[in-house]
Protein backbone atom coordinates (compact mmCIF):
# COMPACT_ATOMS: atom_id res chain seq x y z
CA UNK A 1 0.00 0.00 0.00
CA UNK A 2 2.70 2.46 1.05
CA UNK A 3 4.73 1.54 -2.06
CA UNK A 4 1.74 2.29 -4.27
CA UNK A 5 1.42 5.65 -2.52
CA UNK A 6 5.08 6.41 -3.20
CA UNK A 7 4.75 5.53 -6.89
CA UNK A 8 1.64 7.70 -7.06
CA UNK A 9 3.52 10.58 -5.47
CA UNK A 10 6.23 10.22 -8.13
CA UNK A 11 3.60 10.38 -10.84
CA UNK A 12 2.16 13.53 -9.30
CA UNK A 13 5.29 15.41 -10.31
CA UNK A 14 3.93 15.42 -13.83
CA UNK A 15 0.79 17.11 -12.49
CA UNK A 16 2.36 19.40 -9.96
CA UNK A 17 2.51 22.55 -12.08
CA UNK A 18 -1.24 22.48 -12.70
CA UNK A 19 -3.42 25.04 -10.95
CA UNK A 20 -7.14 25.77 -11.09
CA UNK A 21 -9.26 28.88 -11.13
CA UNK A 22 -11.75 28.95 -8.26
CA UNK A 23 -15.18 29.99 -9.48
CA UNK A 24 -16.52 30.91 -6.04
CA UNK A 25 -13.77 33.39 -5.22
CA UNK A 26 -13.59 36.95 -6.59
CA UNK A 27 -10.67 37.66 -8.91
CA UNK A 28 -10.75 41.46 -8.61
CA UNK A 29 -12.25 44.32 -6.65
CA UNK A 30 -9.88 43.89 -3.67
CA UNK A 31 -8.98 46.83 -1.49
CA UNK A 32 -5.57 47.27 0.08
CA UNK A 33 -5.27 46.42 3.76
CA UNK A 34 -2.50 45.59 6.16
CA UNK A 35 -3.53 43.25 8.92
CA UNK A 36 -3.03 39.80 10.41
CA UNK A 37 -5.94 37.36 10.35
CA UNK A 38 -6.02 35.00 13.32
CA UNK A 39 -6.82 31.38 12.55
CA UNK A 40 -7.94 29.95 15.88
CA UNK A 41 -8.30 26.23 15.07
CA UNK A 42 -4.82 25.09 16.09
CA UNK A 43 -3.88 28.24 18.02
CA UNK A 44 -4.28 27.16 21.64
CA UNK A 45 -0.98 26.07 23.14
CA UNK A 46 -1.22 22.59 24.67
CA UNK A 47 -4.56 21.70 23.07
CA UNK A 48 -4.49 18.18 21.65
CA UNK A 49 -6.41 17.34 18.47
CA UNK A 50 -6.92 13.72 17.45
CA UNK A 51 -8.46 12.98 14.06
CA UNK A 52 -9.45 9.88 12.22
CA UNK A 53 -7.72 10.43 8.86
CA UNK A 54 -8.70 9.11 5.44
CA UNK A 55 -6.06 9.82 2.86
CA UNK A 56 -6.92 9.38 -0.80
CA UNK A 57 -4.10 9.63 -3.28
CA UNK A 58 -5.05 8.96 -6.88
CA UNK A 59 -7.26 5.89 -6.36
CA UNK A 60 -5.44 4.58 -3.29
CA UNK A 61 -6.69 4.94 0.22
CA UNK A 62 -4.95 4.89 3.56
CA UNK A 63 -6.50 5.40 6.96
CA UNK A 64 -5.10 6.12 10.40
CA UNK A 65 -4.95 8.77 13.06
CA UNK A 66 -3.54 12.28 12.79
CA UNK A 67 -2.55 14.03 16.00
CA UNK A 68 -1.89 17.78 16.03
CA UNK A 69 -0.72 19.75 19.06
CA UNK A 70 0.60 23.27 19.39
CA UNK A 71 3.64 22.74 21.60
CA UNK A 72 4.65 26.39 22.07
CA UNK A 73 4.61 29.77 20.27
CA UNK A 74 6.75 28.46 17.45
CA UNK A 75 5.93 24.82 17.00
CA UNK A 76 3.13 22.41 16.09
CA UNK A 77 3.69 18.68 16.35
CA UNK A 78 1.93 16.63 13.64
CA UNK A 79 1.91 12.82 13.74
CA UNK A 80 0.25 10.26 11.47
CA UNK A 81 -0.13 6.72 12.80
CA UNK A 82 -1.63 3.65 11.15
CA UNK A 83 -4.71 2.01 12.67
CA UNK A 84 -2.43 -0.52 14.37
CA UNK A 85 -0.68 2.35 16.08
CA UNK A 86 2.68 2.51 14.37
CA UNK A 87 3.91 5.97 13.48
CA UNK A 88 4.14 6.75 9.77
CA UNK A 89 5.46 10.28 10.13
CA UNK A 90 6.16 12.69 12.97
CA UNK A 91 6.84 16.35 12.14
CA UNK A 92 7.71 19.44 14.12
CA UNK A 93 6.20 22.25 12.06
CA UNK A 94 7.42 25.85 12.30
CA UNK A 95 6.24 28.78 10.16
CA UNK A 96 9.40 28.81 8.05
CA UNK A 97 10.86 25.31 8.46
CA UNK A 98 10.09 21.79 9.55
CA UNK A 99 11.90 18.97 11.31
CA UNK A 100 11.25 15.29 10.68
CA UNK A 101 11.31 13.48 14.02
CA UNK A 102 10.48 10.21 12.31
CA UNK A 103 9.34 9.07 8.87
CA UNK A 104 8.71 5.49 7.89
CA UNK A 105 11.32 4.48 5.30
CA UNK A 106 8.76 4.15 2.48
CA UNK A 107 7.77 7.81 2.72
CA UNK A 108 11.15 9.13 3.82
CA UNK A 109 11.74 10.94 0.54
CA UNK A 110 12.44 14.64 0.58
CA UNK A 111 9.83 15.63 -2.02
CA UNK A 112 7.07 13.70 -0.22
CA UNK A 113 8.01 15.11 3.17
CA UNK A 114 8.19 18.67 1.85
CA UNK A 115 4.69 18.42 0.28
CA UNK A 116 3.27 17.11 3.57
CA UNK A 117 5.19 19.63 5.67
CA UNK A 118 4.04 22.57 3.51
CA UNK A 119 0.45 21.35 3.81
CA UNK A 120 0.66 21.24 7.58
CA UNK A 121 2.55 24.55 7.76
CA UNK A 122 -0.40 26.27 6.09
CA UNK A 123 -3.05 24.10 7.76
CA UNK A 124 -1.80 24.87 11.30
CA UNK A 125 -0.85 28.52 10.67
CA UNK A 126 -2.31 30.72 13.41
CA UNK A 127 -1.44 34.23 12.20
CA UNK A 128 -1.95 35.00 8.52
CA UNK A 129 -0.61 38.35 7.25
CA UNK A 130 -2.85 39.74 4.49
CA UNK A 131 -2.48 42.65 2.03
CA UNK A 132 -5.84 42.83 0.24
CA UNK A 133 -9.45 42.20 1.14
CA UNK A 134 -12.93 42.10 -0.29
CA UNK A 135 -16.31 41.46 1.35
CA UNK A 136 -18.54 38.91 -0.30
CA UNK A 137 -21.92 38.19 1.31
CA UNK A 138 -21.28 36.61 4.72
CA UNK A 139 -17.59 36.26 3.98
CA UNK A 140 -14.47 38.38 3.79
CA UNK A 141 -11.90 37.19 1.29
CA UNK A 142 -8.29 38.20 2.01
CA UNK A 143 -5.21 37.83 -0.17
CA UNK A 144 -2.03 37.23 1.79
CA UNK A 145 1.38 35.69 2.00
CA UNK A 146 2.52 33.24 4.66
CA UNK A 147 6.16 32.24 4.71
CA UNK A 148 6.49 33.39 1.06
CA UNK A 149 3.47 31.23 0.09
CA UNK A 150 0.67 33.19 -1.58
CA UNK A 151 -2.70 32.34 -0.11
CA UNK A 152 -6.36 33.29 0.12
CA UNK A 153 -8.00 33.44 3.54
CA UNK A 154 -11.78 33.11 3.70
CA UNK A 155 -13.30 34.51 6.89
CA UNK A 156 -16.82 33.44 7.84
CA UNK A 157 -18.60 36.40 9.47
CA UNK A 158 -21.43 34.49 11.27
CA UNK A 159 -18.96 31.91 12.63
CA UNK A 160 -16.36 34.62 13.31
CA UNK A 161 -13.48 32.43 12.21
CA UNK A 162 -11.48 31.27 9.21
CA UNK A 163 -13.49 28.74 7.21
CA UNK A 164 -10.95 28.00 4.51
CA UNK A 165 -7.43 28.76 3.43
CA UNK A 166 -6.38 28.42 -0.20
CA UNK A 167 -2.75 27.90 -1.17
CA UNK A 168 -2.23 30.02 -4.31
CA UNK A 169 -4.45 32.78 -5.66
CA UNK A 170 -8.13 32.76 -6.77
CA UNK A 171 -6.90 32.41 -10.38
CA UNK A 172 -4.13 29.90 -9.64
CA UNK A 173 -5.18 27.75 -6.69
CA UNK A 174 -2.98 24.78 -5.75
CA UNK A 175 -4.62 23.41 -2.59
CA UNK A 176 -7.35 24.16 -0.08
CA UNK A 177 -7.52 23.70 3.70
CA UNK A 178 -11.09 23.51 5.02
CA UNK A 179 -11.98 24.01 8.69
CA UNK A 180 -15.77 24.15 8.68
CA UNK A 181 -17.01 21.45 6.32
CA UNK A 182 -19.48 18.71 7.20
CA UNK A 183 -20.07 15.27 5.75
CA UNK A 184 -22.92 12.90 6.68
CA UNK A 185 -23.90 15.35 9.41
CA UNK A 186 -20.44 15.27 11.01
CA UNK A 187 -18.00 18.16 11.22
CA UNK A 188 -14.86 17.44 9.28
CA UNK A 189 -11.68 19.20 8.22
CA UNK A 190 -9.92 18.55 4.95
CA UNK A 191 -6.84 19.17 2.90
CA UNK A 192 -7.30 18.90 -0.84
CA UNK A 193 -4.87 19.43 -3.70
CA UNK A 194 -6.02 20.83 -7.02
CA UNK A 195 -2.87 20.02 -8.96
CA UNK A 196 -2.97 16.27 -8.24
CA UNK A 197 -5.63 13.97 -6.79
CA UNK A 198 -4.85 13.96 -3.07
CA UNK A 199 -7.34 14.52 -0.29
CA UNK A 200 -6.93 14.16 3.46
CA UNK A 201 -10.22 13.99 5.33
CA UNK A 202 -9.99 14.58 9.08
CA UNK A 203 -12.81 13.58 11.40
CA UNK A 204 -12.33 14.91 14.95
CA UNK A 205 -12.50 12.10 17.50
CA UNK A 206 -14.74 12.91 20.41
CA UNK A 207 -13.13 11.94 23.68
CA UNK A 208 -15.01 9.25 25.60
Amino acid sequence: MIRVLVISLCVLFTYSCKTVQLADLPKQGFLPTEQVVENSYFAKIGEEHIFRANITLFKNELSGLIVIKRIDDQQHRVVLTSDFGNTLFDFSIYSDKYAVNYAMSDINKKFILSILARDFQLFTATRLPVMKKRSLGDEIVYLGKYNKLKNVVVWDNPLARVSRLVYGTPKKAKAVYNYTESEDGKAILSIEHYNFPMRIKLIPLVEE
Binding site: R52, G85, T87, L205, E208
Partner: protein
Protein backbone atom coordinates in the same frame (compact mmCIF):
# COMPACT_ATOMS: atom_id res chain seq x y z
CA UNK B 1 18.30 15.44 57.01
CA UNK B 2 16.82 16.29 53.63
CA UNK B 3 19.83 14.73 51.94
CA UNK B 4 19.43 11.51 53.92
CA UNK B 5 15.74 11.40 53.08
CA UNK B 6 16.33 11.89 49.37
CA UNK B 7 19.11 9.29 49.45
CA UNK B 8 16.74 6.82 51.14
CA UNK B 9 14.00 7.65 48.68
CA UNK B 10 16.37 7.17 45.76
CA UNK B 11 17.52 3.85 47.21
CA UNK B 12 13.95 2.71 47.75
CA UNK B 13 13.03 3.69 44.22
CA UNK B 14 15.97 1.95 42.60
CA UNK B 15 15.63 -1.23 44.64
CA UNK B 16 11.92 -1.10 43.89
CA UNK B 17 12.64 -0.90 40.19
CA UNK B 18 15.14 -3.72 40.45
CA UNK B 19 12.65 -5.88 42.29
CA UNK B 20 10.09 -5.20 39.60
CA UNK B 21 12.09 -6.69 36.75
CA UNK B 22 14.75 -9.32 37.22
CA UNK B 23 16.61 -11.04 34.42
CA UNK B 24 15.97 -14.81 34.30
CA UNK B 25 18.83 -17.23 34.73
CA UNK B 26 19.57 -19.94 32.17
CA UNK B 27 17.50 -22.60 33.95
CA UNK B 28 14.50 -20.28 34.25
CA UNK B 29 14.81 -19.34 30.57
CA UNK B 30 14.87 -22.98 29.45
CA UNK B 31 11.85 -23.88 31.59
CA UNK B 32 9.90 -20.79 30.49
CA UNK B 33 10.58 -21.35 26.80
CA UNK B 34 9.68 -25.02 26.97
CA UNK B 35 6.43 -24.22 28.75
CA UNK B 36 5.35 -21.50 26.28
CA UNK B 37 6.28 -23.52 23.21
CA UNK B 38 4.45 -26.62 24.53
CA UNK B 39 1.33 -24.58 25.40
CA UNK B 40 1.40 -22.68 22.10
CA UNK B 41 1.44 -25.96 20.19
CA UNK B 42 -1.90 -26.84 21.78
CA UNK B 43 -3.55 -23.62 20.55
CA UNK B 44 -5.66 -23.97 17.42
CA UNK B 45 -7.77 -20.86 17.82
CA UNK B 46 -8.05 -17.79 20.01
CA UNK B 47 -10.65 -15.14 20.74
CA UNK B 48 -9.90 -12.08 22.86
CA UNK B 49 -10.86 -8.48 23.57
CA UNK B 50 -8.16 -5.85 23.59
CA UNK B 51 -7.36 -2.30 24.55
CA UNK B 52 -4.71 -0.55 22.49
CA UNK B 53 -2.76 2.37 23.97
CA UNK B 54 -0.72 4.53 21.62
CA UNK B 55 1.89 6.45 23.58
CA UNK B 56 3.28 9.64 22.05
CA UNK B 57 5.79 11.40 24.31
CA UNK B 58 4.35 14.88 23.69
CA UNK B 59 0.74 13.94 24.45
CA UNK B 60 -0.73 14.30 27.94
CA UNK B 61 -2.29 10.83 27.78
CA UNK B 62 -2.24 7.72 25.62
CA UNK B 63 -4.69 7.37 22.72
CA UNK B 64 -7.00 4.49 23.51
CA UNK B 65 -8.72 2.11 21.06
CA UNK B 66 -10.79 -0.96 21.89
CA UNK B 67 -11.89 -4.03 20.04
CA UNK B 68 -11.74 -7.78 19.68
CA UNK B 69 -9.55 -10.25 17.85
CA UNK B 70 -9.99 -13.73 16.40
CA UNK B 71 -7.18 -16.01 15.38
CA UNK B 72 -7.25 -19.39 13.68
CA UNK B 73 -3.86 -21.08 13.47
CA UNK B 74 -2.06 -21.01 11.08
CA UNK B 75 -3.20 -18.06 8.97
CA UNK B 76 -6.56 -16.52 9.67
CA UNK B 77 -6.71 -13.33 11.68
CA UNK B 78 -9.39 -10.72 12.32
CA UNK B 79 -8.74 -7.44 14.15
CA UNK B 80 -11.92 -5.57 14.89
CA UNK B 81 -11.85 -2.08 16.42
CA UNK B 82 -15.12 -0.89 17.90
CA UNK B 83 -13.92 2.33 19.60
CA UNK B 84 -13.34 5.19 18.90
CA UNK B 85 -14.49 4.12 15.41
CA UNK B 86 -15.49 0.89 13.71
CA UNK B 87 -12.75 -0.59 11.64
CA UNK B 88 -11.73 -4.16 10.95
CA UNK B 89 -8.99 -5.89 9.07
CA UNK B 90 -8.93 -9.58 8.19
CA UNK B 91 -6.02 -11.69 6.96
CA UNK B 92 -7.34 -14.78 5.18
CA UNK B 93 -6.13 -16.95 2.29
CA UNK B 94 -3.35 -14.52 1.38
CA UNK B 95 -5.81 -11.67 1.16
CA UNK B 96 -6.32 -8.66 3.39
CA UNK B 97 -9.81 -7.25 3.58
CA UNK B 98 -10.55 -3.98 5.29
CA UNK B 99 -13.93 -2.77 6.47
CA UNK B 100 -13.73 0.91 7.34
CA UNK B 101 -17.08 1.95 8.80
CA UNK B 102 -18.93 -0.03 6.12
CA UNK B 103 -16.55 0.89 3.31
CA UNK B 104 -14.90 -2.32 2.10
CA UNK B 105 -11.54 -2.84 0.48
CA UNK B 106 -9.58 -5.93 -0.54
CA UNK B 107 -5.85 -6.28 -1.07
CA UNK B 108 -4.31 -9.38 -2.59
CA UNK B 109 -1.02 -9.90 -0.80
CA UNK B 110 -0.10 -12.94 -2.88
CA UNK B 111 3.56 -13.60 -2.24
CA UNK B 112 4.30 -10.21 -0.73
CA UNK B 113 7.02 -11.04 1.78
CA UNK B 114 6.55 -7.89 3.81
CA UNK B 115 2.89 -8.63 4.50
CA UNK B 116 3.70 -12.27 5.22
CA UNK B 117 6.26 -11.05 7.76
CA UNK B 118 3.78 -8.65 9.36
CA UNK B 119 1.20 -11.43 9.56
CA UNK B 120 3.70 -13.81 11.17
CA UNK B 121 4.74 -11.10 13.58
CA UNK B 122 1.16 -10.43 14.70
CA UNK B 123 0.19 -14.10 14.97
CA UNK B 124 3.48 -14.83 16.75
CA UNK B 125 3.09 -11.94 19.21
CA UNK B 126 -0.38 -13.00 20.25
CA UNK B 127 0.23 -16.70 20.51
CA UNK B 128 3.58 -16.08 22.17
CA UNK B 129 5.54 -18.30 19.82
CA UNK B 130 8.16 -15.84 18.74
CA UNK B 131 11.31 -17.32 20.14
CA UNK B 132 13.14 -17.44 16.83
CA UNK B 133 16.78 -16.67 17.56
CA UNK B 134 17.41 -16.11 13.85
CA UNK B 135 14.91 -13.23 13.80
CA UNK B 136 15.40 -11.71 17.25
CA UNK B 137 17.91 -11.14 20.00
CA UNK B 138 15.86 -12.19 23.02
CA UNK B 139 16.24 -11.47 26.72
CA UNK B 140 13.99 -12.81 29.49
CA UNK B 141 12.80 -11.19 32.72
CA UNK B 142 10.61 -11.94 35.70
CA UNK B 143 8.43 -9.39 37.42
CA UNK B 144 6.34 -10.74 40.26
CA UNK B 145 4.18 -13.45 38.71
CA UNK B 146 4.80 -12.16 35.21
CA UNK B 147 7.34 -13.36 32.69
CA UNK B 148 8.58 -10.95 30.08
CA UNK B 149 10.34 -11.65 26.81
CA UNK B 150 12.07 -8.70 25.15
CA UNK B 151 12.83 -9.15 21.49
CA UNK B 152 15.12 -6.97 19.42
CA UNK B 153 14.59 -7.62 15.68
CA UNK B 154 17.74 -8.56 13.79
CA UNK B 155 16.30 -7.70 10.39
CA UNK B 156 17.16 -4.15 9.33
CA UNK B 157 13.81 -4.00 7.52
CA UNK B 158 11.86 -4.50 10.74
CA UNK B 159 14.22 -2.37 12.85
CA UNK B 160 13.17 0.68 10.85
CA UNK B 161 9.66 0.31 12.27
CA UNK B 162 10.11 -1.48 15.57
CA UNK B 163 13.15 -1.32 17.80
CA UNK B 164 11.84 -3.74 20.44
CA UNK B 165 8.88 -6.04 21.08
CA UNK B 166 7.96 -6.91 24.65
CA UNK B 167 5.71 -9.88 25.39
CA UNK B 168 4.14 -10.21 28.84
CA UNK B 169 2.94 -13.59 30.08
CA UNK B 170 0.80 -13.98 33.21
CA UNK B 171 1.52 -17.04 35.31
CA UNK B 172 -0.50 -20.08 34.24
CA UNK B 173 -1.62 -18.46 30.97
CA UNK B 174 -0.70 -20.00 27.66
CA UNK B 175 -1.03 -16.82 25.59
CA UNK B 176 0.41 -13.36 26.02
CA UNK B 177 -1.52 -10.92 28.17
CA UNK B 178 0.17 -7.81 26.84
CA UNK B 179 2.31 -6.78 23.87
CA UNK B 180 4.40 -3.63 23.68
CA UNK B 181 5.77 -2.53 20.32
CA UNK B 182 8.46 0.10 20.82
CA UNK B 183 9.34 2.32 17.88
CA UNK B 184 12.75 3.79 17.02
CA UNK B 185 11.60 7.13 18.52
CA UNK B 186 10.79 5.38 21.86
CA UNK B 187 7.07 6.03 21.35
CA UNK B 188 5.17 2.79 21.65
CA UNK B 189 1.91 0.90 21.18
CA UNK B 190 0.76 -1.27 24.08
CA UNK B 191 -1.97 -3.86 23.52
CA UNK B 192 -3.59 -5.43 26.56
CA UNK B 193 -5.63 -8.59 25.98
CA UNK B 194 -8.68 -9.46 28.09
CA UNK B 195 -11.28 -12.25 28.15
CA UNK B 196 -9.04 -14.67 26.29
CA UNK B 197 -10.51 -17.97 25.15
CA UNK B 198 -8.51 -20.63 23.37
CA UNK B 199 -9.48 -23.57 21.13
CA UNK B 200 -13.02 -22.43 20.55
CA UNK B 201 -14.82 -23.34 17.35
CA UNK B 202 -14.50 -20.61 14.74
CA UNK B 203 -16.24 -20.79 11.39
CA UNK B 204 -14.69 -19.57 8.19
CA UNK B 205 -17.43 -16.94 8.08
CA UNK B 206 -16.16 -15.47 11.37
CA UNK B 207 -13.26 -14.08 9.33
CA UNK B 208 -15.45 -12.56 6.63
CA UNK B 209 -15.10 -8.86 6.76
Amino acid sequence: MKKILSALLFLAMTTGAMAQEKEMNQVEITTFRKEVIAKTKEITSLSTDFIQYKHLSFMSKDIESKGSMLLQIPNKLLWKYSLPFEYSIAFKDNKISINDQGKKNKVDIGNNKKFAKINNLIVGSISGNMFDEKEFKISYFKSGKRSIAKLIPLSKDILQYISQIELYFDEGQSTVSEVKLIEPSADYTRIVFKNRQTNIKLNDSSFSN
